[in-house]
């Protein structure tokens, strides 16, 4: 089965390259932060420095861990689900569920281990740069050398490979349990219901998010950095919880936006609305990373903004160190946001390219390339709007409690500028990824695109 797995990797390069990039970036970011723990362990480091380094690594690592695990799991799951037809064919050719499971898991493992290994040297240097930045902003003293060791490897590598394997395991279990007929039907029509397991996980994340929010506003409301990172945790956990509910959210959004879409463009809007309603699985693939991206980016940027405003209001002059912390915070958020954005792009491109055959059929039936582009564009807008709404809810889950903690007012006094920036980024990323991928999918003649043995 391993040889089938490997030839499959070569055959369907696109989605696997996406998986590889996500695991690579995720592992690099996590290992960089985890290396701070290694550095904190060096004997020459003072107790205070040890504390700072450990807190930073754990707090940032905590968010990062979740986001990376989420991103890697989402792409790995997609890489398996896009092959429902192939899996159904293997089943009908006599592959046992066990063999299929081994095939899927070995594929995902080969990719994630390879990507994580390539990430090690990169993480070594970014981790060192991170420590240097901390020293430059005087958050840690000069003592102690940079170490990249056990923690970096176990936490950084462990989390990414673990997340990928869990996702692969779940996908393999699902693939194995579907009957051949069902697998073919699902491949054609998409998944309808949200599984009970998914609902349980979604609820757990939402509860954890609310819990962090409540703690931010009450028990931990004056702990400085801890308060802020707890609020950040509230944003992320709530966003991931909402993201897991994405199929239901997507259907609601499609239902609400169905009419307006048709007003924009009668036929493309009609197709876009039907696709989103009937194949919510396609749209939700992309909806999930949007919700997480918006929750993370809008959330953490507004947390910083509330922090600055509160300090300004209580006339706390911002020290040089404070500025340094802010800069560092931005860099860290930016790194994780870039990761979330890459996941978003990868998933959007992979999902759209996968629809090549559908586009081909529409073209054969009389859709012009412009009509197909409009259809995809309107679907992207629907998904982006849904993602922005639910991502904003996720961001508010952390920002409101933090605002209460710092200013005793639930409505944070912050500008709309950051939010507009986040909206712009989401819209540009979606448009570029989806329309670009659609154009690419339509580059070949429609006849080739509908060929049953089309190379994806």
């Amino acid at each position: 089965m391993l040889s089938i797995a490997l030839s499959s990797l070569r055959f369907r390069a696109g989605i696997f390259v996406a998986s590889f990039i996500n695991v690579f970036l995720g592992a690099a970011i996590l290992m960089s932060f985890a290396s701070l723990l290694d550095s904190a362990g060096s004997p020459a480091v003072s107790r205070a420095d040890k504390n700072t380094l450990t807190t930073m690594a754990l707090v940032i690592g905590g968010w990062g861990l979740l986001i990376v695990a989420f991103g890697v799991a989402a792409t790995s799951t997609l890489s398996v689900r896009q092959r429902d037809t192939e899996i159904a064919l293997l089943k009908s050719a006599g592959a046992t569920p066990r063999q299929l499971g081994r095939m899927i898991i070995s594929e995902v493992t080969v990719i994630s281990v390879a990507a994580a290994i390539v990430a090690i040297p990169v993480a070594f240097f970014t981790g060192r740069a991170c420590l240097a930045a901390l020293r430059a902003t005087n958050q840690v003293a000069g003592g102690g050398a940079y170490h990249f060791g056990v923690f970096a490897l176990t936490v950084g590598l462990g989390d990414t490979v673990f997340a990928a394997s869990i996702a692969a395991y779940a996908a393999a279990r699902r693939a194995a349990s579907l009957s051949t007929r069902d697998a073919l039907a699902v491949a054609a029509a998409g998944e309808r219901r949200i599984s009970r397991k998914r609902i349980v996980f979604a609820c757990l994340f939402l509860l954890a998010g609310i819990d962090c929010g409540v703690l931010t506003a009450t028990v931990f409301n004056d702990r400085g950095f801890v308060t802020m990172s707890l609020a950040g945790e509230a944003c992320i956990q709530t966003s991931i919880g909402l993201a897991l509910f994405a199929p239901a959210l997507m259907r609601t959004a499609a239902w609400l936006l169905g009419r307006p879409l048709q007003m924009v463009s009668r036929i493309s809007g009609y197709l876009a609305g039907t696709n989103v309603r009937q194949r919510p699985d396609q749209a939700t693939n992309v909806l999930m990373p949007i919700v997480v991206f918006v929750g993370l980016a809008a959330g953490s940027l507004y947390l910083q903004s509330v922090f600055n405003n509160a300090n300004a209001a209580s006339r706390i002059a911002e020290s040089a160190d404070g500025k340094g912390v802010e800069t560092l915070n931005f860099i860290i958020v930016a790194m994780i946001a870039v990761f979330a954005a890459v996941v978003l792009i990868n998933i959007a491109v992979a999902t759209t390219i996968h629809r090549r055959r559908e586009f081909g059929q529409e073209r054969l039936l009389g859709a012009t390339p412009a009509q197909v582009l409009w259809m995809v564009g309107l679907e992207s807008i629907t998904t982006a709007v849904a993602g922005l709404i639910f991502g904003t809810v996720g961001a508010l889950a952390g920002v409101v409690p933090y605002s209460i903690a710092r200013t005793h007012s639930a409505a944070p006094h912050v500008g709309i500028g950051i939010y507009l920036g986040v909206v712009a980024v989401v819209v540009v990323l979606m448009a570029a990824a989806n329309l670009g991928a659609t154009l690419r999918a339509m580059r070949r003649p429609a006849l080739d695109a509908i060929a049953v043995t089309s190379v994806a």
Partner: protein, 258 residues
């Protein structure tokens, strides 16, 4: 929508159409100057050994592929191989398709699938025509189902209804019975015959099955990119016999070329 085939004497005309594929190392001439003329309301089967160019003929005649040279006329209008959008707009209302693999959109219901080409063309749905076609293909009770809920035969009948409801000047069918069992295949062929009889539909069907080709009013035999024979009022037996000889000739020429 106007019926393009009502006023003209020819539903389809090919003027020395050739197609050369340059993708492989050696250029391959799949069609070598094919000319033909089909009057409206005829049902023509195209047969030939594999590699004889029958699929290429269908693709070039229907505007899915651009001929290297030669002209194609549908209902008297010359097909312009400009941009994809222009070609698509030309095909709308003139050309209908039925494929071996049905090509139904999984997200749409049977009704939505059938009306899709009209919607794409921005044309109004002729309710009377829709009702007639849907009843003829026997899908009246399945309109709100999705393709994944249908049997292969029902899916192909949906595809046929989708093609017929637009009043195409010509309907191209590419191995329409290839994925069906004998009973469903028979049903599809009966639908084609009925469409020719009652709607005056023109149909061109590529097939390798002599039994399927026998339901056509005439058969064109293709070999090595050329039309080598034409048979009127064929039967499965005469077609099979002719095909055997063609297959023999083709393998002889192939042997001679080696």
């Amino acid at each position: 929508m106007k019926r393009g085939n009502a006023s003209t004497a020819e539903a389809l005309r090919l003027d020395s159409v050739s197609k050369v594929y340059l993708s492989s190392r050696v250029p391959v001439a799949a069609l070598k100057g094919v000319s033909l003329s089909l009057p409206p309301g005829t049902f023509t089967a195209v047969m030939g050994p594999s590699g004889s160019g029958k699929s290429t003929l269908l693709h070039c005649a229907s505007g899915l592929d651009e001929p290297t040279s030669g002209k194609v006329y549908v209902a008297g209008d010359e097909m312009k191989f400009g941009s994809e959008a222009e070609l698509t707009k030309f095909r709308r209302g003139r050309v209908g398709f039925v494929f071996q693999q049905y090509n139904l959109l999984p997200a749409l219901t049977v009704r939505q699938n059938i009306t899709l080409p009209l919607r794409l063309a921005g044309a109004r749905l002729d309710k009377e025509r829709f009702r007639t076609v849907v009843e003829r293909v026997g899908l009246a009770g399945r309109l709100s189902h999705r393709p994944s809920d249908l049997s292969g035969g029902e899916q192909q009948r949906t595809a046929i209804a989708r093609a017929l409801v637009t009043w195409p000047a010509i309907l191209f069918a590419d191995e329409p019975t290839g994925a069906l069992d004998a009973r469903n295949a028979r049903e599809v062929l009966l639908l084609f015959e009925e469409a020719v009889r009652t709607f005056g539909q023109t149909i061109v069907m590529v097939t390798h099955d002599p039994a399927a080709a026998a339901s056509a009013s005439s058969v064109l035999f293709l070999s090595d990119g050329r039309i080598v024979d034409k048979m009127e009022r064929p039967t499965a037996a005469t077609i099979a016999e002719r095909m055997t000889r063609l297959g023999g000739e083709a393998s002889l020429t192939a042997a001679a070329e080696v």
